[in-house]
Symmetry: C2
Subunit: 220 residues, 2 copies
C-alpha cells in the first residue's frame, strides 16, 4: 500500500526533472524498486500516474489555502497585527514566503513540473498562474492594503506596490529552481530587496528615520 505513494513521489521527482515524455515507466519502477509491469497493479497507465499527482496536489493546495486563510475574512481580523509591523518583520514575511516556496519539497517539484508541462493541458498553465502569480499577488495585496490603512506603508497604488514586492521574489524563485547553487546569493538579494522596498514605501516619519539610524531603535 505504501508502494502506491512511493510511485507518485518518485514519478513527481522524475517528471519535474525531465518532463513527462522523457520519463519511462521503467524509470519510475526502478526508483520504487519494482519492475515496470508491476506498476500497473497500482495505476492503470502512465497518464493515470500523472493525473494522480495533479489530484494530490490539488488536495494539498486546498488544505494549505485553508491553513493560510488565503480566502478568509478572518485575515481582516488580524489587521491589528499589521499596525505594528517592523522592517524585520517584513523581511521575515518575505523570507518565509520565499523559503516555503523554495524548500517545501512537494511544492518545489510540483512547480518545476508545472513549468515544464504547461502545454500538457491548458489546465496546468492555469494552475501555475493561479498558484504562483495571481494568488500571491492578491493575498499580499490584501496584506499591504491593511498595512496602508494601518499607516505603516504608503502608496498611491497598492497593486503596483504589491508587484514591486512580489515580482523580485518570483524572479529569484525561478532562478533558484533552475540553478539551485545560486540559492545563497538569492537569499541575500531577497533581504536587500525587502530592506530597500521598506525604505521606499514605508511611511515617512517612521521609516526614513528608522533607515537613517538603526541605533535609535536600540537606544529606545
Amino acid at each position: 500500500m505504501d508502494t502506491k505513494h512511493r510511485i507518485l513521489d518518485e514519478a513527481l521527482t522524475l517528471f519535474s526533472e525531465k518532463g513527462y515524455a522523457n520519463v519511462f515507466v521503467a524509470d519510475i519502477a526502478e526508483r520504487v524498486g519494482i519492475k515496470a509491469p508491476s506498476l500497473y497493479k497500482h495505476y492503470k497507465s502512465k497518464q493515470a500516474i500523472f493525473d494522480a499527482i495533479i489530484e494530490e496536489m490539488n488536495r494539498r493546495f486546498l488544505e494549505e489555502a485553508g491553513a493560510l486563510q488565503i480566502n478568509g475574512a478572518d485575515a481582516v481580523v488580524d489587521a491589528e497585527i499589521y499596525k505594528h509591523i517592523s522592517e524585520e518583520q517584513l523581511i521575515t514575511l518575505g523570507n518565509n514566503l520565499f523559503l516555503y516556496f523554495l524548500h517545501d519539497d512537494y511544492t518545489r517539484r510540483f512547480r518545476k513540473m508545472l513549468t515544464i508541462e504547461q502545454f500538457h493541458a491548458k489546465k496546468l498553465a492555469d494552475v501555475y498562474m493561479k498558484q504562483y502569480v495571481d494568488d500571491p499577488l492578491s493575498y499580499q495585496g490584501m496584506l499591504f492594503g491593511l498595512m496602508v490603512s494601518a499607516g505603516v506603508l504608503q502608496a498611491e497604488n497598492v497593486e503596483i506596490m504589491t508587484l514591486h514586492f512580489y515580482a523580485p521574489i518570483y524572479m529569484l524563485l525561478t532562478i533558484c529552481d533552475r540553478e539551485p547553487e545560486r540559492e545563497a546569493e538569492a537569499l541575500k538579494t531577497m533581504e536587500a530587496h525587502i530592506r530597500q522596498f521598506n525604505r521606499l514605501y514605508a511611511r515617512d516619519e517612521k521609516v526614513i528615520q528608522d533607515n537613517k539610524k538603526k541605533s535609535r531603535r536600540k537606544v529606545k
Copy 2:
C-alpha cells in the same frame, strides 16, 4: 532551399506550443506542406532540426547583442543621454524592452520553447537564464548606474534598483507568454509600474517632492 528554413520555422512554432516530444515529424512536414520522409532530405533527424533551431537562435542572439551594444564600452559614451532622461523616456525604455521581448516572433517562440525544454539539456536552462535574467539585469544595471552618476536617479543599491525595475517586467512577460489575452492589462500595469518606479527612485528635487505633497494631502 526555402523549405529548409520553413521547416525550422514551423518546427519552432510547434515545439514552443507543445514541446519537442509532443510534436511528430509528420506534424512539421504537414505544416510545411510536404510528407514526413521528405523532411529527411533536409535534416538527418528530428533532433537535428532541434539543434539547428538552437544554432540559429545563437546566431541571431550574437547579432543582436552586437546591435544593442550589450557588451559595448560604447554605451558609456552615451552617458550624456541619460542625464536628461525623463519619466516618459523611462516608460518608453520599459515599453520597448517589453514589446520587443513580447512581439518579436522568433524571440517569443524561442523563449516559450526554452521554458518547456529546459530539461532537454542543461545548456538550454543556461541560455534561458543568460538571455532573460542575467543579461537584462546587467545591461540595465549599467544604464541605471549611468543615470545615478548623471544625477537623474538615486539609490543606495543600484543592483536592487535594477531588480525593482526589471523583475516586474519579467513577471508580466511570463504572464503574457502563458495567457496572451492578458497582454493589454499587462501593458497598463507596465506603465503604472514604471511611473511608480520613477516616483520612488527619481532624485528628490525632481520627483519625490511631488510625491510627498500629493500623498500628504491624500493622507490627511
